[in-house]
């Protein structure tokens, strides 16, 4: 927006513009919002033009969490890259692992065995629940509902314990790897998971009791941050953003992976197009995730959890003592690694935030030529200006909240 004809004055870091565009007092305020603002979910900076309290322009400034993951992956071997995929969207590490692992597997032309597929579904859904719980808790706090955060964190803690039990790590699990998963699930993991699945439905009822019919919460979210179905498609929004706008698009159903098409579940969709609809979609997704978890746990197949390919995964420990071949494979894997054939592949999975894709290019060597993450936050954030235009500054908090961006994912 050209401000050339407007007169600008600067006072204590705030730009006051007087001129043609008349607001409450004929003034347009440019306000800097963030990057260290508690409601920006990380370090997002927004430059906002305000006309009174009405938003006239939003410019997101990102890059504060850029860690060069894509560059670093080019310097690591294929199997080493997994640990970095954990770290871009730090609220859903196993789902990031999954996108990368599926992409490498497609390049190599292998498929993980059935038990690994089942475990991948379990971990993905647990992650989706924990990611939605963080979103629900923090968004609740931002809108003045303090209690919900405690309930969400109480249940997320159980998922962290499950992560620890299965992989040894609470957050950055690196559990899903090209060729399968890190290790088989322990009996204790399966017991804890069973207990969690039993209690989750009533826990979700508790969250709903606190928010769904809460008049203050409804006032703050209904009719706020409108994003029509056409605009959602045009702006490339994915995940709960597009499902809250009435388009039932979910990669788990529409481009199935890991056998998601064999489970009985429904795509959560709402037609409200506002912040409240996006909230309802996420609550519904929590319930659907629990449904998938129950089925996946009940029919978890037995068998190996890794592909039987010595060129891709190390041989079992006991073979090393008797087999020369096993030692050679082990040595080659940990000094040089494996080399997928030249080519490129794009794999997308549904994360809590939307389409989390991984595009990788191999030049036939033991390190990737290019790894690109198509992150949902990066694209969804571009829809922010459209949703916030013309709304009040206080509603902006709700809009940023329901966009559910993770800045690590956005900046990579």
């Amino acid at each position: 927006m050209a401000d050339t004809e407007l007169e600008q004055t600067q006072t204590q870091g705030i730009t006051i513009t007087r001129g043609e565009r008349r607001g409450l007092h004929g003034e347009l305020l440019t306000v800097n919002f963030g990057p260290q603002h508690p409601s920006t979910h990380g370090v997002l900076r927004l430059v906002v033009d305000l006309d009174g309290e009405t938003i006239r322009r939003v410019e997101p400034v990102i890059g504060y969490l850029h860690t060069g993951i894509e560059k670093q992956m080019e310097a690591l071997r294929w199997q080493q890259g997994v640990v970095l995929t954990d770290r871009h969207d730090y609220l859903s590490p196993p789902i990031n692992n999954l996108a990368y692992a599926l992409a490498v597997e497609q390049l190599m032309g292998v498929e993980a065995p059935p038990r690994a597929q089942g475990l991948r579904v379990l971990m993905s859904e647990l992650t989706r629940i924990s990611s939605h719980l963080i979103w629900l808790g923090t968004s609740g706090i931002e809108l003045g509902a303090m209690g919900i955060f405690m309930y969400c964190l109480r249940d997320r803690e159980k998922i962290m314990d499950l992560n620890e039990e299965i992989s040894g790590f609470r957050m950055h699990t690196s559990y899903i790897r090209p060729g399968g998963v890190m290790a088989d699930a322990t009996p204790r993991f399966l017991d804890l998971l069973d207990a969690l699945i039993r209690e989750m439905p009533s826990n979700i009822d508790q969250y709903e009791d606190l928010l769904t019919r809460n008049p203050i919460f409804q006032e703050r979210t209904q009719g706020i941050g409108m994003l029509s179905r056409e605009d959602a498609i045009r702006l490339g929004a994915t995940g709960p953003m597009i499902r809250g706008s009435g388009l039932p698009w979910d990669l788990r159903r529409d481009r199935p992976y890991c056998g998601y098409d064999t489970y009985d579940w429904e795509v959560a969709v709402e037609t409200g197009c506002d912040c409240y609809a996006r909230y309802l979609v996420r609550i519904k997704e929590l319930r659907e995730s629990v449904r998938i978890l129950r089925q996946a746990l009940d029919r978890l197949p037995s068998g190996p959890v890794n592909v039987d390919d010595r060129k891709m995964l190390p041989p079992p420990r006991e073979e090393l003592e008797t087999s020369m071949e096993a030692i050679i494979h082990h040595f080659k894997l940990f000094t040089e690694g494996y080399s997928p054939p030249p080519g490129d592949v794009y794999v997308a999975v549904e994360s809590g935030r939307g389409e989390n894709g991984c595009y990788i290019v191999s030049d036939g060597t033991h390190k990737p030529r290019r790894v690109k993450f198509r992150s949902a936050s990066f694209v969804n954030l571009q829809a922010l200006e459209h949703m916030a235009m013309g709304s009040m500054l206080a509603d902006f908090i709700a809009i940023i909240g329901t966009a559910d961006t993770v800045l690590g994912d956005c900046d990579r």
Binding site: I62, G63, H66, G68, E70, K71, Q72, E74, A75, Q106, L107, I233, R234, L235, G236, L247, W249, D254, R255, P342, G343, D344, V345, Y346, A348, E355, G357, Y359, V361, D363, G364, T365, K367, R369, R370, K372, R374, F378, V379, Q382, D411, R412
Partner: protein
């Protein structure tokens, strides 16, 4: 599957890799190609990125150093298409698609920031991920992986040289 109808004399190559369809089109015609594809159902733009083929060991050499990759999706027909555009090293420019596909705006800024490819017609081509005063384009293969110079360390000079296989 039917091939989408494209304007004449724009297609350089096409094929299928790992189950995914792709086409390579002329750099000059990318805007008309995208308009044609969008009108034929590829309404959803997933991402655009760049691949640097500097000193690639692949036997069949790519026609130019930089390759722009656009991934499009037809949500109704459940179909995806990858569009490749090759950009030569001595003239790293391409046409902006921000008015055809809205999400291209930030992707083009990112590609300019990290690869130094200029997008003609972009309204606000400035750095997006790197700091504003950064020098260079870090995802180019000849940009060293190295670290920052650390006080009292001897080896920072070796970190700052490009690795041999770059």
């Amino acid at each position: 599957m039917t091939t989408p109808v494209l304007p004449e004399n724009v297609l350089q190559a096409s094929g299928v890799i790992a189950g995914a369809e792709w086409i390579t089109v002329n750099r000059e015609n990318v805007r008309e190609v995208m308009r044609a594809l969008k009108s034929q159902g590829f309404e959803s733009y997933l991402f655009m990125t760049c691949v640097d083929h500097l000193a690639t060991p692949v036997v069949e050499k790519p026609p130019a150093r930089f390759e722009l990759v656009y991934q499009l999706r037809d949500m109704r027909a459940h179909r995806e298409l990858r569009v490749r555009v090759f950009v030569p090293e001595d003239d790293p420019t391409a046409s902006s698609l921000h008015d055809i596909y809205a999400p291209a705006n930030w992707d083009e800024r990112e590609t300019w920031d990290l690869f130094g490819i200029t997008f003609e017609g972009h309204p606000d081509l400035k750095r997006i991920l790197m700091p504003d005063d950064w020098v260079g384009h870090p995802l180019r293969r000849d940009f060293p992986v190295g670290g920052e110079p650390v006080d009292f360390s001897d080896d920072h000079e070796t970190w700052q040289t490009a690795p041999p296989e770059a």
